[in-house]
Symmetry: C2
């Protein structure tokens, strides 16, 4: 089966059974938007919840989740640099008016990698190769920059511009100080968020891979830049694990990714910080737990010209999919103090962290003072004013006057050189003030939902099976009476359905059609276990429990269904451990 | 304690401990936006999950959840009527340029209820009473309508307007047909969604009560308008329950709300449809389960001029809060076929549902035909063309010609009256095609989070306790070593912490400060149970488990903590049922 074939089958299943489809279909669709249907929405919720477990709950003493608005005032995105830098090159056909993303068009039509080139350079390439409008053949205009922020206006005053957030990060940076306070001021502090963002792509294609609106799962992990050890308390637990990495230098020389142990990559400086490496390991485990085999995944370092404006190192977590080859599902950036510094500057607020020393340090500092006696003698009644003014001057200014680098004029009077005196003073320092650095793992939820879905797609005996990892299956169990028309079977089946719903499971009850068709319908949407009520149920109160993947069945007492289901879904129990095997099952 | 005092205390706690606070504080704030901090975000998630259980999971055979985009193309909101109707009256000061919501200003300054008045009427009132700018005293301009949709642009073409959705509903209507297909075409079908919406309020005040961006939990419940019984399968389970209702007529005559049984309200036509009543009961139970006592809640019917443009009946679910009195936390609207009809018209797509009859019906229909013999005789070689044309004409047109209401001209020829013949024909009809009606319960999540928070606020012995219902407490358990400095106690405490995290709980480990201070800190954020590791733990492996509300403690074996916690949180177990009471506890 080719990649295209697999993709077509996957999308057909996705639409037909209600996982996902292009939004606004009845209006002809709008590129870059997708709906999640009943099953897709459940699958997405399960994946989000798993992310929460991996990132937040497993680190609950120093990672928290918050929720901030989608709409933000202009100022925030001026500070973040997005108003200036969050752009793509665009070119317009002078004849038909169509607009294209310039670097993509150049790459597609001329085979030239134009990522990161300036608009002028791209215009030059277009002119040199006489590249024309791919639709009407008309001449193309100058390449310009198009800002990808979705603009809006907040409130009734026309000047009050706002934007839809292009990433979650700024919400965490702006709220950082308050969150830090609620966590008693301690670092490391991870602030996670899950939510929708908008990026006004010029011409989104690639279905779920490039959307204009999508859900990000992201964490800003704030650390003390001088305390690499303390910032990564669980580093030792992961340092022997391996990661497949392709440093950007290897990409330049055409080398493929290779395996490194975490320790190796950190010690060799391939990953610049232990915290980056730690969260990359967690991200790798997360994707593996969604069904992506390790050989179909690696981390690609971005080169200096490919990185976002805030990043000093970025790795993309790449996963192979049928149609598009390697796609990015997560990014790991070392954002340093870029964002907090910018917000300090734009807001005028102090966003530094104070870290007390274990015991206060006493240090000697040089200080310039004015000799009161000399000032008093020289300036008489004006002396008081001069001393007062002097006390308000910054230390550097006094020092410059004392050393002659600046005119010694205070309160309009020229101060004689001999009035300046340098003294040494002992000062007690109780701690250190600094701007935290930030490591950011950021996951594209919609792509990951697609990836999990595609990797789960199987065919067996001419039928489709969605072999999702059991713990993320949207519907957790099916309940079916063996025979459609038998009211006694139906009644018991509905009882079991209610028991499982009561126990908190998402269950489907299905009574119509042949039993084989019903199993097939449930396999196709990835229901891990199906409980069947048959005539033996009426005799001895047992039901059969069927495994989606092996089609094997076991008999268990009806009332044990919730417990068996829990063990099957969340404790990776094999179906044969859960009851008495039913002979002849396994090949339907 | 006055309402204002309670509100001030609640908000102080919310900010200090990280539940919620105004967004963009470091930039001076932007009215109408709130952040959820670490604890608020967890509380909100729990409330959302509970809603899912009440609305979706408990009705999983016919209610599903989907997720659609926040940004929508203009066409969708033209169809929905929002571009035309989703407005508030605004008035601008001609001197200082400040803008005000006209009806609120009139009500506030003149005490005149201006809701639903036209802009002209409001302008007249302003002129008559010489109402002036409350800030600068300047003259006010004409009252205009301000559209509350947040505008944006989709993609690089300037004509492509888009909006941030003001409600979730349109996403469900637009996707209705596809969702219905995945559910095998059956009604009733509830399509639920939880997500953020934007309403560009003119001057939002009232903190969390009136936001420009907030989270809605909503369901569009699609039904066959001719099958009230079948649309509401669980009606019998709720018909004896009571609801406090204030019909709009009672409001007009100044009568307070009174209790009705569901049956009574439905039979008397106070609630126009059983499905409305059913979901109102579920909504009442939901709010009760979040800690709102029944006497602080009622349903207020909206009068004809207060209802949204799509509604034929609307009830607001009102809850009493300290500062603002009665506020709306949910709305129940009978939207009829308004939305689907409009989308059919604007999209040109067929959104009707076909409902097969149990067995096909044979009905007799009158039909007008042309007598072939007469036509042949009269028109000779042109007869064929005339008969062809006639077969394409709609039935009504032929009938009008036959009855003389219209000129009998076909294919340019005058047809003699006697050529028209009326025949009776038997037609087999297999089912009925109709546009479903919609009942919509819609909940304001942020308000509900605030309500649950305020109702949980208690003071006891000079301390604050957040008595949230246990099953929505953000942090489910605390683990503390009795003594801060004892490494042995700390080690065992960390072990228990890991056990509880592994079992899926959100747990806080706290070792600093006196034990009393730690209990107080945990009570204040609503942690239902705290496990304490003390010296007896080292001897016999038991720990104490403390109840936030009664301060009573029991001893249990350490390894039973996860089970005891589950029973305490989700099965409403009393603390004293869970272990051996510790003497002298209960009054800390």
């Amino acid at each position: 089966m080719t990649g295209e074939d697999l993709y077509a089958k996957v999308m057909e299943l996705a639409k037909r059974r209600g996982f996902f489809w292009p939004s606004y279909e009845i209006y002809g669709g709008v590129a870059g938007f997708y709906d999640f249907g009943p099953l897709g929405s459940l699958l997405k919720q399960k994946i989000i919840d798993k992310w929460r477990r991996f990132i937040v709950r497993n680190h609950s003493n120093y990672v928290v989740e918050i929720e901030t608005p989608i709409i933000g005032p202009s100022k925030v995105y001026e500070a973040s640099g997005h108003v200036e830098n969050f752009t793509d090159p665009i070119v317009t056909c002078l004849k038909c008016g169509r607009k294209f993303r310039a670097d993509h068009l150049i790459e597609e039509k001329l085979g030239i990698d134009a990522e990161g080139l300036s608009p002028e350079e791209m215009t030059r390439i277009i002119r040199e190769h006489d590249l024309r409008c791919p639709v009407c053949g008309g001449e193309l205009g100058e390449v310009k920059l198009f800002n990808l922020l979705f603009p809006t206006q907040i409130g009734p005053y026309e000047g009050n511009k706002g934007y839809i957030r292009p990433e979650l990060a700024q919400g965490m940076f702006v709220a950082f100080k308050r969150v830090l306070e609620t966590m008693r001021g301690r670092l490391p502090l991870g602030i996670a968020q899950i939510g929708r963002v908008g990026r006004n792509e010029i011409s989104p294609r690639q279905a779920m891979m490039r959307l204009r609106e999508f859900t990000i799962m992201e964490m800003e992990y704030f650390i003390d830049p001088e305390d690499e050890e303390g910032s990564c308390p669980f580093y030792d637990r992961v340092k022997k694990e391996t990661l497949r990495i392709r440093p950007y230098k290897a990409k330049e020389t055409g080398e493929p990714p290779r395996e490194y142990t975490v320790e190796e990559a950190v010690d060799a400086g391939i990953i610049i910080h232990k915290c980056m490496a730690y969260w990359m390991v967690i991200g790798k485990r997360f994707l593996e737990s969604l069904g992506v085999p390790p050989e179909n995944m690696y981390f690609e370092e971005k080169g200096p010209h490919e990185r976002a404006h805030y990043s000093s190192q970025t790795f993309d977590q790449m996963v192979k999919v049928a149609r598009w080859g390697w796609v990015e599902v997560a990014g790991y950036s070392y954002r340093g103090d870029y964002d907090l510094s910018r917000h300090m500057k734009y807001s005028g607020q102090d966003l530094t962290v104070f870290k007390p020393y274990e015991k206060p340090k006493t240090v000697k500092v040089r200080k310039v003072i004015l000799d009161r006696a000399i000032i008093g003698r020289t300036f008489k009644s004006e002396a008081k004013k001069i001393l007062e003014e002097a006390s308000k001057l910054p230390e550097e200014k006094l020092e410059a006057m004392a050393s002659g680098r600046e005119e010694p004029v205070i309160a309009g009077k020229r101060i004689p050189r001999e009035a300046f005196r340098i003294v040494e003073k002992e000062v007690k320092i109780t701690g250190r003030k600094f701007i935290p650095h930030v490591v950011e793992p950021s996951f594209g939820t919609d792509r990951i939902v697609y990836v999990a879905f595609e990797y789960a797609y199987r065919e067996k005996a001419g039928r489709t099976i969605l072999s999702l990892p059991r713990d993320i299956a949207p519907i957790e169990a099916g309940v079916v009476p063996l025979v459609e028309k038998d009211e006694k079977l139906r009644e018991r089946a509905r009882q079991l359905y209610e028991i499982l719903v009561e126990a908190g499971y998402h269950v489907v009850y299905d009574e119509s059609g042949s039993i084989g068709r019903r199993y097939a319908r449930l396999d196709e949407i990835g229901v891990p276990a199906v409980f069947t009520i048959d005539y033996q149920t009426l005799e001895d109160g047992t039901v059969t429990m069927r495994d989606r993947d092996t089609w094997r069945q076991v008999r268990i007492p009806l009332e044990e269904a919730p417990t068996a289901l829990r063990r099957f879904l969340y404790e990776a129990a094999d179906i044969t451990e859960l009851g008495i095997p039913v002979e002849g099952t396994g090949e339907d």
